[in-house]
């Protein structure tokens, strides 16, 4: 291709301070808290009772309802409480509290599943409890299952990790490349997908080199170096930049013959199929300006964030603590919130880096639109939101293709007037969702 289009173009500071930090096991937390809504689908259903003893890897909550995923004990010990907890973002969910006996005893009945065909493979993926570990938390089985109904030509393994600071996927590729290779081989073998592309941003040259070497004898696996620009790892952006394909409104990506799966998720499902260990821990990057020595940790799911912050020395009382990266992460107020399956980083910032500047008047510079990877008419969204009439507002927003907003936050990042552009887009999306739901309800009556 002469004109290689690249729809993401924003350069954000990488701050990959932990790129060389080999993850080590975090010290044993006293208690872990496992919320039932760690996956994007329906909440899981507890299968243990207060007082039960559990082993590491033992099923504590089964998959329930649509796009759900089972949850396993991440430490050995005793179930002390099954009660709702408040999570980052204000949501509440039922959670299983396990008191850690410190022994980390594995489930004696644990054994690797027998996988000889696609059905058994998908069942194993389902039982592994693996969800999208890059932050989306969509159950991996529900995604891979699309292979039954679609002609999948390519599986895109997402190792972009475009968010600043986070090196969780990077370390997985470096330190558990054996699992990445196994995961890829398993998908090839059972899903019969002709091509697998592992896409990695070129600020992780060591990972690109390592995987290129490991797959040098397999022509069906391509290691694809991506330009390091934000939001390279967003699925629509990645799909376009690697394959040139575009998901049209309402379409599923699988219909285009492509599936995108996070690289750590691939490694974790290999871990289950090879060793029988379901998803009970993950790599978490602990960084931010308030952290003296940023590091990567292997953290049992459910470990309180406060416990992780105690593991690294803090320069000062943090002014802001984030779950996830600085572009998309959530600021939390309760440091006892647990690390969940999708938590790839905990970032603590000093007070001076925690204050948001006051917005000033929009000078119509157009940077929000110039930097929007999907090319949204962001000014138009602003004008539409100013419409008093709800029907007119909804119509205008629909016509602008608002639903294509991938919520990458580039618009707010570049705004010289410090306007909360993303927030307004989110507000518009939420309005449109409610409006359409109400219309649907009306139509039914």
């Amino acid at each position: 291709m002469i004109f290689k289009k690249n729809i993401s173009s924003l350069h954000v500071p990488h701050n990959k301070n932990t790129a060389d930090s080999v993850p080590v096991f975090v010290s044993a937390p006293k208690e872990v808290v496992l919320p039932m809504n760690m996956q994007s689908g329906h909440d899981a259903e507890p299968v243990v009772a207060v007082g039960d003893h559990v082993y590491v890897g033992q099923l504590v909550a089964r998959e329930e309802g649509r796009a759900s995923s089972p949850i396993h004990a991440s430490v050995s010990g005793t179930v002390t409480k099954i009660a709702p907890v408040k999570l980052a973002g204000g949501k509440e969910a039922l959670a299983i509290h396990i008191e850690n006996d410190g022994k980390m005893e594995k489930d004696p009945e644990m054994k690797a599943p027998t996988v000889t065909n696609l059905d058994e493979f998908l069942d194993a993926v389902r039982a592994s409890g693996v969800v999208g570990l890059g932050g989306a938390a969509f159950p991996v089985w529900a995604k891979l299952e699309a292979v039954r109904r679609n002609e999948i030509e390519t599986i895109l393994v997402n190792g972009a990790e475009c968010e600043p600071y986070i090196t969780s996927d990077h370390r997985m590729m470096m330190d558990r490349s054996d699992l990445v290779v196994k995961g890829v081989k398993l998908m090839q073998e059972h899903m019969k997908v002709p091509k697998i592309v592992i896409a990695i941003e070129n600020n992780k040259q060591d990972a690109i080199d390592k995987l290129t070497e490991l797959f040098k004898d397999d022509p069906s696996v391509e290691i694809y170096p991506l330009e390091t620009v934000y939001p390279q790892g967003a699925k629509q952006v990645l799909l376009y930049n690697v394959t040139g394909k575009v998901v049209k409104g309402g379409q599923r990506m699988a219909a285009l013959g492509v599936l995108i799966i996070n690289v750590s998720s691939v490694a974790k499902l290999a871990d289950y199929i090879e060793n029988g260990m379901p998803l009970v821990d993950r790599i978490v990057t602990v960084d931010g300006s308030a952290v003296k020595e940023p590091r990567n940790f292997i953290v049992p799911i459910g470990t309180p964030i406060s416990h992780l912050l105690k593991e690294v020395e803090l320069k000062s009382e943090p002014g802001k603590v984030l779950i996830g990266g600085p572009m998309l992460g959530h600021a939390i107020t309760d440091l006892d919130s647990p690390v969940i399956k999708a938590t790839n980083a905990i970032l603590a910032f000093e007070e001076k880096d925690s204050v948001t500047a006051e917005p000033t008047a929009c000078i119509r510079c157009g940077r929000c639109m110039d930097n929007c990877p999907v090319g949204l008419n962001i000014a138009g969204i602003g004008r539409a939101m100013a419409k008093k009439d709800e029907d007119e507002r909804a119509e205008a927003l629909t016509k602008l293709g608002l639903k294509q907003c991938i919520e990458c936050a580039c618009c707010s990042y570049v705004c010289p007037a410090h306007r909360p552009v993303l927030e307004r887009n989110l507000e518009a999306k939420s309005f449109l969702r409610k409006y359409n739901a109400a219309k649907k309800e009306e139509g039914r009556k």
């Binding site: 729809i7 954000v12 600043p164 629509q236 376009y240 575009v246 998901v247 049209k248 409104g249 009382e317 943090p318 002014g319 802001k320 603590v321 984030l322 600085p326 572009m327 998309l328 992460g329 959530h330 600021a331 939390i332 107020t333 440091l335 970032l347 925690s354 948001t356 500047a357 000033t360 008047a361 929009c362 000078i363 119509r364 510079c365 157009g366 940077r367 639109m369 110039d370 929007c372 999907v374 949204l376 008419n377 000014a379 138009g380 016509k399 602008l400 293709g401 294509q404 907003c405 936050a409 707010s412 990042y413 570049v414 705004c415 010289p416 007037a417 909360p420 993303l422 927030e423 989110l426």
Partner: protein, 307 residues
């Protein structure tokens, strides 16, 4: 643990601010200011200073009167004042400069709601206002570097049947009559490069604007030399680099900006060629400013993935 801050994503920012953008525009105009003093003497500095002071003081007073928080620290009033000053000649009495600057800030900007809400570029609006109100505004200043005392602008000279116009090098360096900041193309280009390096503007609008005028003269006359004279003379570079690229009054989308620049070029050519008035840059930008909302609508495209 003390109170933790909570805010919506993103939690980092490019660090860019309106002040930084406006300050860069001011810096980009400084070569033209220096050139104006070299070419037209200390009187040019007085004209520019009167405009800047007039603009900043007007904004301060307006904010005071209506009880708004002062916005002069964002440098936008200074930009407007500078731009107006560069667009005037040394013949303009200083009190008129102040009146013009006040018109730009109060009438063309603040009454529309302040920075970001004005429909036309305040400096251009003020220049046109002065053009129709004060007789001294139309003529050019006499260049102190030439021995002649004529203040006729090259565009007046380039009009059919007139005397011989300055050569290309004199035009490029600005050694001829005109508004104080418009003649030295070299200084304006230095500012342009600075704006590009600082990523304040993109190259498209100035290049398309000037390019359109050049191509139209080339096509209609077949004379490269004449076409070059036409783009180097008058306020084309000043307008294309500093006025057509005004964020507030140009379209916000890149496609729209290109259409806008094309329109500016067409109208400039049409006015210079077919109207009694020798210069058309200000009017062209003014007219295209008014069309900006329409252009934005016409050039709006579907986002990736459709609607």
């Amino acid at each position: 643990m003390s109170q933790l801050h909570v805010s919506a994503a993103p939690h980092i920012h490019s660090g860019n601010t309106t002040e930084k953008v406006m300050r860069d525009v001011v810096i980009a105009m400084l070569p033209a200011v220096v050139a104006s003093v070299i070419l037209f003497g200390i009187r040019a500095a007085a004209v520019i200073a009167a405009c800047v002071i007039g603009a900043v003081v007007s904004e301060l007073m307006f904010c005071k009167v209506v009880g708004k928080k002062s916005t002069v620290s964002d440098f936008s009033a200074a930009v407007t004042g500078l731009l107006l000053g560069l667009n005037l000649s040394t013949n303009v009495p200083l009190w008129q400069c102040v009146v013009g600057a006040a018109f730009a800030i109060v009438i063309a900007k603040c009454l529309f709601g302040g920075l970001g809400n004005n429909i036309v570029n305040p400096a251009i609006a003020a220049r046109v206002f002065m053009l129709v109100s004060f007789s001294q505004v139309a003529g050019g200043s006499a260049c102190v570097l030439t021995d002649g005392t004529t203040s006729a602008t090259p565009l007046e000279i380039l009009a059919p049947g007139a005397e011989e116009a300055p050569g290309l090098m004199d035009l490029f360096l600005g050694i001829h009559g005109g508004a104080v900041g418009e003649t030295c193309v070299l200084a304006l280009l230095i500012g342009f490069v600075y704006l590009l390096i600082r990523k304040v503007i993109r190259w498209h609008v100035p290049v398309i604007f000037v390019g359109t005028v050049f191509v139209l003269y080339l096509v209609t006359t077949g004379d490269v030399y004449y076409a070059l004279q036409q783009i180097l003379a008058g306020g084309l570079f000043l307008g294309a680099i500093f006025m057509a690229t005004d964020y507030v009054t140009e379209p916000m989308n890149q496609r729209g900006r290109m259409v806008f620049a094309l329109g500016c070029g067409l109208i400039t050519f049409a006015i210079r060629q077919f109207c009694a008035y020798p210069e058309g840059v200000s009017f062209a930008i003014l007219i295209m400013n008014l069309l900006t909302p329409l252009i934005e609508e016409w050039t709006d495209k579907e986002p990736l993935g459709g609607i």
